[in-house]
């Protein structure tokens, strides 16, 4: 699901919004990047709430998956030739409740294979060392015909 618009934004901008992706717009996601990584920011909003006063685990999983996708896109050696990426398996662990504040997520590409790409994604609120949720995501890369 590599959006060309997402890839372009990540190539050209240091920060911005992910409004080109409808589901990311629902989560109101923004991104910021430096030389090391892309971080996604999910500002708190009422529409993210599951149980009273807590973020829905599904919204956190959605954030973790898109952070993983962004990390895979920026890890590609050729920004102009990108595969279509689809998550095959997603395993999310929930460590702490998501409180009504901004959530930040960043992902690390554990192995950038040609077909399978393994990613570890982490979401936190107050302290990066105390994640509220993490996910291991395995993406399948479909390359366009050469």
């Amino acid at each position: 699901m590599t959006s060309t618009a997402l890839a372009r934004a990540l190539r050209d901008e240091r920060h911005g919004r992910l409004d080109m992706l409808p589901y990311a717009r629902l989560l109101d996601l923004r991104f910021e990047q430096d030389d090391n990584e892309v971080r996604l920011i999910m500002p708190f909003s009422l529409g993210l709430v599951g149980a009273p006063g807590r973020l829905h685990g599904g919204a956190l999983a959605g954030l973790l998956e898109i952070a993983g996708l962004a990390a895979v896109i920026v890890a590609q050696p050729d920004a102009d030739r990108l595969p279509r990426l689809r998550p095959v398996t997603v395993t999310a662990d929930f460590m702490r409740e998501g409180t009504p504040v901004d959530t930040i997520a960043a992902a690390e590409v554990t192995r950038l294979g040609r077909r399978i790409i393994n990613v570890s994604s982490r979401a936190w609120q107050f302290d990066r060392g105390r994640p509220i949720a993490m996910a291991n995501i395995n993406f399948l890369a479909d390359w366009p015909e050469a």
Partner: protein, 153 residues
């Protein structure tokens, strides 16, 4: 032949309560996820197609995060059915295998069952499908922690 009027009313009352309860969950309302049906240890939710579920307008595919939310919610609902009361629960972990993409514009149904309950941990599994439960679009397996009231000796 009509079922006994009392049973039916109780069922309807329970269904209306569940419907009302679920429609009050903001993130489910945001995605259009709604109550479908329930049983003693299972629950089913439905997610009719809506534009805000799309991962990417280039492909018209529903975001896996939306399907994750559907299944996490159906799983939690199944745990509540198994418990028979609304005790606090929280997802420990949840794994999704995305088998294929749903048909464009399809309503995605999420069905989860709680197949084992211990004092503290509930084990759940389920499938998401776009019309035929025998041809799922995703498989789910997860665990929840249950917080029971402490009994003072």
């Amino acid at each position: 032949m009509k079922p006994p009027i009392d049973t039916r009313t109780a069922d309807e009352r329970q269904q209306r309560f569940v419907q009302h309860f679920l429609s009050g969950v903001p993130h489910l309302a945001a995605l259009g996820i709604a109550y479908r049906s329930q049983g003693p240890d299972w629950a089913e939710l439905a997610m009719p197609f809506a534009e805000q579920q799309l991962a990417d307008p280039d492909y018209g595919i529903i975001a896996s995060g939306a399907i994750f939310t559907l299944m996490d919610s159906a799983a939690g609902f199944a745990v509540h059915m198994m418990l028979g009361e609304f005790l606090p629960i929280a997802t420990i972990d949840l794994r999704m295998d995305y088998l294929r993409g749903p048909a464009p514009g399809a309503t995605v149904t999420g069905r989860a069952s709680c197949y084992r309950m211990t004092r503290q941990i509930a084990f759940v599994r389920g499938v998401a499908h776009d019309g035929d439960p025998d041809h799922p679009i995703a498989n789910m397996a997860g665990t929840f922690i249950v917080t029971r009231p402490t009994v003072v000796a």
